[in-house]
Symmetry: C2
Subunit: 346 residues, 2 copies
C-alpha cells in the first residue's frame, strides 16, 4: 500500500527542516468565525491624504518629491538604527542579548496610489525589481550590514497600514532566523549531494508540472510540496543565482513576468486584491561562505476560501506545527485554472 494524500499526513520542508500537517478532508468544514474586510475596490490614482503619494507630506514632516518611478526613502519609524560604538552583548547564559544594527527603508512601487504589482505594466515591475536590486547592492556593501531583507506586506489583513502599493527593506547586521536556518539546510544538502537543493527542486517541479503556477525561461513559480499557507508560492530562478544584484537584464524581465503571472492569478482567484507577505531570500553579505544558497522568493498569502475567510495560524499551529486544509497540488491546480488576465483589465 502507498501514501494516501487524501488522508491526514505530514510533509517535510527541506528548506527549513520543519513539518506541516495536511488535512485534505477538512476543507469543507463550515466557518462561523471572523470574516475579513475586503480591500477598497476603487482607489484614486492620487490621494491628497496619503503620506506615500508624490508631493505629499509624510507623518514625520518630510515632503515626498514629485517622483515618477519607484521611490525609496528611510522609514520614518525604523525598527533598526545605525550602530552605536561600544555596546556589548550580555554574558548571562539564560538571558542572552546582543545589540542589533540596521537600516529600514520604504520602496513605493510608483506614483500611482491605485496600482498594485499585478496591475502594473511589465516594464514598471522591472523598474521595481531593479530598485530592489540596487538597494540590495548598496546596503549589502556596507560593512555593518550582514543581510538584506526585501519584502512586501500587501493588504490590511497582513498588517499593511497604507494602501499605496509599497514594499520595505530591513537590512540587519546579523542574519535573521529564517535565512539562517535555510542556509544550514542548503549547505547540508550541498555537502551531502554535491548539488543545490533548489536547483534540484526546481528541475523536478518543472518536469512534474503538477504544482507549477507560472514559469518562463528564467523563473519558476510553484506551490511547494510542503506549503504551509493555503496558496503559498515559491519562486525560484531556473539558473543557480544567489541574489538580486546577480540577475541579468533578461532574468530581471523573467522575474517581473513570473511575478505578474502569480499575482494576477492571486487576484483572480477570489476577484479581490489578494493579500500576502512576500519577500526574497538572498545570500547573506556577512562574508561567510553559503554553499548551495539559491535565490528565491516566498509568497505567504492568508486567504483560504474566499475574499473574507482566511486561514488562522493559531493554537495547534503556534504550539505544535502548521496545519493546512487543502493539498499543495489542489492549490496549484486552482491557481492554474483561473484566467491569466487581471479581472479588472478584462
Amino acid at each position: 500500500m502507498q501514501m494516501n494524500f487524501n488522508r491526514p499526513h505530514r510533509r517535510f520542508n527541506p528548506l527549513n527542516g520543519q513539518w506541516v500537517l495536511v488535512s485534505p478532508h477538512r476543507a469543507q468544514r463550515p466557518w462561523q468565525g471572523q470574516v475579513e474586510k475586503t480591500a477598497a475596490a476603487n482607489l484614486p490614482a492620487y490621494d491628497p491624504t496619503c503620506y506615500l503619494c508624490p508631493g505629499n507630506r509624510r507623518n514625520q514632516g518630510a515632503d515626498n518629491p514629485k517622483y515618477t518611478g519607484p521611490y525609496v526613502f528611510d522609514n520614518d519609524f525604523p525598527a533598526l538604527l545605525p550602530p552605536e560604538p561600544g555596546e556589548e552583548p550580555t554574558d548571562h547564559a539564560l538571558f542572552r542579548a546582543e545589540p542589533e544594527t540596521g537600516v529600514c527603508r520604504v520602496v513605493c512601487f510608483s506614483p500611482r496610489h491605485d496600482l498594485t504589482l499585478p496591475e502594473m505594466a511589465l516594464e514598471d515591475v522591472e523598474a521595481v525589481i531593479r530598485t530592489w536590486s540596487a538597494q540590495t547592492a548598496e546596503l549589502g556593501a556596507r560593512p555593518e550590514i550582514g543581510y538584506v531583507q526585501v519584502f512586501e506586506n500587501k493588504g490590511a489583513v497582513m498588517g499593511c497600514s497604507n494602501p499605496h502599493p509599497h514594499s520595505q527593506i530591513w537590512a540587519t547586521g546579523q542574519v535573521p532566523n529564517e535565512p539562517a536556518v535555510e542556509a544550514v539546510q542548503q549547505a547540508a544538502y550541498h555537502q551531502r549531494t554535491g548539488g543545490c537543493l533548489l536547483c534540484d527542486v526546481t528541475a523536478e517541479e518543472r518536469a512534474r508540472g503538477e504544482r507549477v503556477v507560472a514559469q518562463n525561461e528564467h523563473f519558476t513559480a510553484f506551490v511547494p510540496f510542503w506549503a504551509v499557507w493555503p496558496f503559498e508560492v515559491l519562486v525560484t530562478s531556473n539558473a543557480h543565482v544567489t541574489s538580486l544584484p546577480q540577475l541579468s537584464a533578461e532574468q530581471v524581465r523573467g522575474l517581473a513576468d513570473v511575478f505578474r503571472q502569480v499575482t494576477i492569478r492571486y487576484d483572480n482567484l477570489f476577484e479581490v486584491s489578494f493579500p500576502y507577505s512576500m519577500g526574497f531570500h538572498q545570500e547573506p553579505f556577512d562574508g561567510q561562505a553559503y554553499p548551495g544558497w539559491h535565490f528565491h522568493a516566498h509568497f505567504y498569502p492568508p486567504l483560504l476560501r474566499s475574499a473574507t475567510v482566511r486561514k488562522f495560524m493559531v493554537g495547534f499551529e503556534m504550539l505544535g506545527m502548521p496545519q493546512r486544509d487543502l493539498t499543495a497540488e489542489t492549490a496549484a491546480q486552482r491557481l492554474r485554472e483561473v484566467s491569466g488576465v487581471h479581472y479588472k483589465q478584462r
Copy 2:
C-alpha cells in the same frame, strides 16, 4: 560600555533556539492599519443557537447532553483521523511525506456561554485542569499516540469560531515541530549543565522578579526575557514535573490560581476579553527519553496597544525573524500594575 536595552537589540530564546528583534524606541509609531473588532461585552448565560451550549444540537447533528461541568466531545471536523493500516511514507528525498494519525477533541469549560477562564471561580478552573489532565492521561496511553497538545484559541482574532469558552486537544502520532525543538534544546542544556533549563530559568525569574506577572508556591508566570508577542507569558511549575497527569491536587490548585491571575490581568489591561492562543507543552508519550523536559504553558496574545490594535507577525517576521516594540520588562510591569480583580467583577 554595556548593553542598552532602550536601543534595538536581539534576544535569544534558549527553549527554541531562535532570536527575537526588540525595537523599544518604536512603540510610539502611529497606527493607521487594520483595527480589530472587540468581543461582545455581554453574552447570555445560555444561547439557544450555540452548538456548544448544553442540550443544543451540534453542526453535524449530534446533541450535547445537559452537561453541568467541563464537557468533552470528539471534534466534528477533526484535522486528524485514526490510523489506516498499511499506509506508507513516500521515499523521495525532496518530497517526503508520512501518514499522520490522531484524535481531535473539544473541551467546553462549563455550561455557561458567558464565562471565560478569568471569570470562573477557582474550583471551576481546577475542574477544567483536571479534565485536561485526565484527557492527557487517556490519550497519551494509547499506543498510536506520541504527543498530546492541549490548547485554547480565545477570541475571533485568534481564529476562534465560537464564543462559548472552550479549548481543544489534538493528539498526534508523532511529536510536532515546536515540542520537538524544545525537546532538543532542553536535552542539550541538561547534557551541558546536568540541570534543567526551565528549573534554572524559573528560579532566576523568581529571584529577579522584574518579569514576573503572577506566582504562588507551585507555579510562576512571567514574560520571558525572549518574549515574541507583546504580552506573551510563560507559566512554569516551580518543581520539576513533566506533564499534567503528574500534578498533585495542590499543584492543580496552584496552576488554576496562576491561570486566573494571568488572565484577569490580561482582561484588565485594555478592559476587554483578551484574545490569545494558550497551550501546554508536556513530555511526549512516544516512549523516547526526554531528559530535562519541564512542564509549561505558553500564552501568545496578539494585542499590542489597545483592545483593537494588534501586533502583526508578517513580512519581516515571517521572512526574517520576530520583532517586538516593547521590552519584556515593560510588558511585565504593565501587567503587574493593573488590578488583580476582574473589571467586570469590581
